[in-house]
Symmetry: C3
Subunit: 350 residues, 3 copies
């Protein structure tokens, strides 16, 4: 069954101004590049106006600045990207799941199950766990003892939440996410035989706020003593590592492959690129933006954009340039010497 | 039961020239270093000739250039590494799996199952999914609604494939692989309270070509609107992140821990090292080689080798040199000034 | 039921000297910052003495140097961190698990099960596998054919161990760990159509020593021909990649997101930071420390600390400085030229 909406129906629901026929009907979203006449596409940036002019979309969503950049039926609105997200959510509702507890699931009798939940095949819900109303627990998920899953949360298949953790309302956790595993806590004990690591029990929890989305195979460790905390509205991409006792402020977004070491505090509204590494016990201010692959070794106290990626080049010239980094301090000293000698000559010359 | 083959039998099946007794029998593969007389080993590079001379292997595979580098029974062939791979596949057949659908598996009645498939314990096959002939679905795998698995594909335990995806024939997906999770699509909506991220539904698919191998815990997100595409013959190592709408060209190989951001297009026959980061919306030409840990921030239009790793050194000298990078632009200006002042003195002196 | 211990009982069990009332009772561990009077906290470094003076903990563990830094009841000992770890293990015993084999688990009749084991819901134990006495196999774990799990080992939910591997006694493997997947072994075969990768069968094993802990979603590949080896007492954090035929020496600790390429040998007692990349076929000496995000491209033969992170800065200055790296070799040449010209002037001047 295909959902179809007219532009008039859309603007009635979501606001914005229809330019062109409000009876234009669309069935699905598309990119300007690949849309057909059943699609509604969107434009956010000037550089895509060329695509707009060639698009075969049936309708488009755009801002006031591009109001006249096309003759297609269109919706003019303040934030085309967010507007498009909402239209897409209506046209493409999330696949429904079977309600109820799948007969193959293993639910401890002491667990609390809210109304209208779905527990998938072979899922395991531990002792004293609680699943909020409307939550969807995917196949093969594991919800540990005493853990609470908020109302309307969705765990895709194969998510593991250890004991005593908390997942907020409406959170989305993708496959392979692991929440609440032990942090990397080890005490070194010297010994006659050379010594060994003693495991430091990780007795804190991992607490995830409301409306957080966490990408596939990302891991968030439980706290060592106090808790690891992810505040509301945070967005985490795939394969991210959040170590024990990290605190991520509300509405911060972190791209894939980034790692944050223990006890670091990230502010609110930060935007952190992919493959960033942030050392432990640091504090990052609100509204900080960090470029991809940057290594952060000191606290950042001011909002702003920070970078630290090494520039790539052809291997041959890279070999020539990179090797000189190992002599950079010497080069600086050499230049200082030249400066001195030159100044001396200049004095004589005067 | 041990398979054993004579060099004559091997060369009959795979070509190459036997030097020494064709009746020499081997049971398994070995490294030059650790092989015993039941083993067949191989040599590809000059630097291992020393190992060849000390090996206790029963036979070796090598190229014409090394034909006389040993007195052992041997097979001389064009590509010893590929030849060895084929011999190993014969001597070490993949562990057989129980045919049929394990009684503990959950297979939706609307799914299509090919001949001679194996579905492991506790696996879940969703509505309208299809499993090609001879495919092996490991224990705890999840195949989402409408997803098609190609003939002869092998999913090791714990693989998750979301809905509406396609996995090509003879693909090998290792444990923990996640295909088709939502891409990192978020629209920022400013608000009186500071604002929040609106989820952009991810309605594209992830399409994996034939003969692709994907390493453990690697994630490939579904497209936002159009599809994410991995072409035939691609090799992906472990813990790789392929973001939404990335396109990876045929026969490209990517080493572990690499991340490729959204909508980037990678060419065919590329070789990308480990822990590489490639920014979004870029285009990388065919036959590009990228060294490990390089950050790619611009499109690459020419085949060639590209690098960008920062050279390591002892921490003490690293501290001295790295700090100077923060003054590199000043140093360049200082040298320009010296150049000017020196030229002035020289002019006077002339 | 709350465990409670007096300082006298603790020192009786673990040594150390009680200063203040030995009858002081504690129920749980706490940080100096957040402890209440039921907690015992610990101090290791001078910089936390300020926290010590403000703490509301009921008791603290500290070294002789800080013996008089507080008036609280306290235990003075040689290694407060390790002592604290042991106290925490007593006050916070690991959650007990149901003994026996869960009825939903799938255990091959040919598997060997030790005494007092626990096999969780939906776990799969393969043919000829063996589970040592007291081992805990979590829900959804997969233990492959012929694999041996040591006595007292704990696999958290969703761990996958391929066939013919060995996990030592008392190992702890966190959720999503994959041991023994195929290494990234591919032989390139040129062809009229451009060529393709031939899979090199991975016939070695992955052998994990006793008392190893492995973090969530970390992957350790099996060997190509010989084995991949992790020696006793090693600590691996989350999302680490250990490639085929790597050898990690005893008691080495590796932080999250680090990748070690094939056949590299890491010494004993090394401490490797997060997001480090170590190229293949290298050898790293014992007692080597490597800072986070360092790329190691050559063997390290001397104990010591090695670094190679690019320093971050504000994006604006980063853009100015980083671009100059691409001209660093030219700058060095330019400085050499200046040096020559200046020397000539100086000679004339003399």
């Amino acid at each position: 069954m295909v959902t179809s909406l007219s532009l008039g129906e859309i603007s009635h629901a979501l606001g914005g101004e229809v330019v062109g026929s409000p009876h234009t009907r669309v069935e699905k979203v598309g990119t300007l590049e690949n849309a057909d006449e059943r699609c509604i596409a969107f434009l956010t940036q000037d550089r895509f106006v060329r695509d707009l002019q060639k698009t075969r979309a049936g309708a488009v969503i755009l801002g006031a600045a591009h109001r006249d950049a096309t003759a297609l039926p269109r919706i003019v609105c303040r934030n085309p990207h967010a507007y498009f997200a909402r239209v897409s959510a209506i046209l493409h509702p999330v696949t429904s799941v079977a309600p109820g507890v799948h007969p193959s699931a293993t639910v401890d009798p002491s667990a609390t199950l809210g109304n209208d939940i779905s527990v998938g095949a072979h899922a395991v819900i531990g002792r004293q766990a609680s699943i909020g109303a409307g939550a969807i627990i995917g196949a093969h998920c594991f919800v540990g003892e005493g853990t609470a899953i908020g109302a309307g949360a969705r765990l895709w298949p194969g998510v593991v939440i250890y004991h005593d953790c908390h997942i907020g309302a409406r959170c989305i956790l993708h496959a392979g996410v692991v929440i609440g595993a032990d942090g990397f806590g080890n005490a070194w004990e010297q010994g006659a035989d050379g010594g060994r690591w003693i495991k430091v029990p990780q007795v804190g929890r991992a607490l995830i706020g409301d409306d957080v989305e966490i990408g596939a195979n990302t891991t968030i460790d439980r706290g060592a003593i106090d808790d690891t905390v992810i505040e509301a509205g945070v967005r985490l991409d795939n394969l991210i590592m959040i170590a024990h006792n990290v605190h991520v402020g509300a509405h911060t977004a972190i791209a894939a492959c980034t790692g944050i070491a223990g006890s670091t505090r990230i502010g609110r509204y930060c935007r952190i690129g992919g493959a960033v590494g942030i050392a432990g016990h640091l504090s990052i201010a609100d509204n900080v933006e960090i470029s991809g692959k940057t290594l952060i070794t000191k606290s950042i106290t001011q909002a702003g954009t920070y970078s630290g990626g090494y520039p790539f080049e052809e291997a041959r010239s890279w070999r020539r340039n990179a090797v000189q980094i190992r002599h950079l301090d010497d080069l600086v000293k050499q230049v200082k010497q030249l400066e001195k000698r030159l100044a001396q000559l200049e004095r004589k010359d005067r």
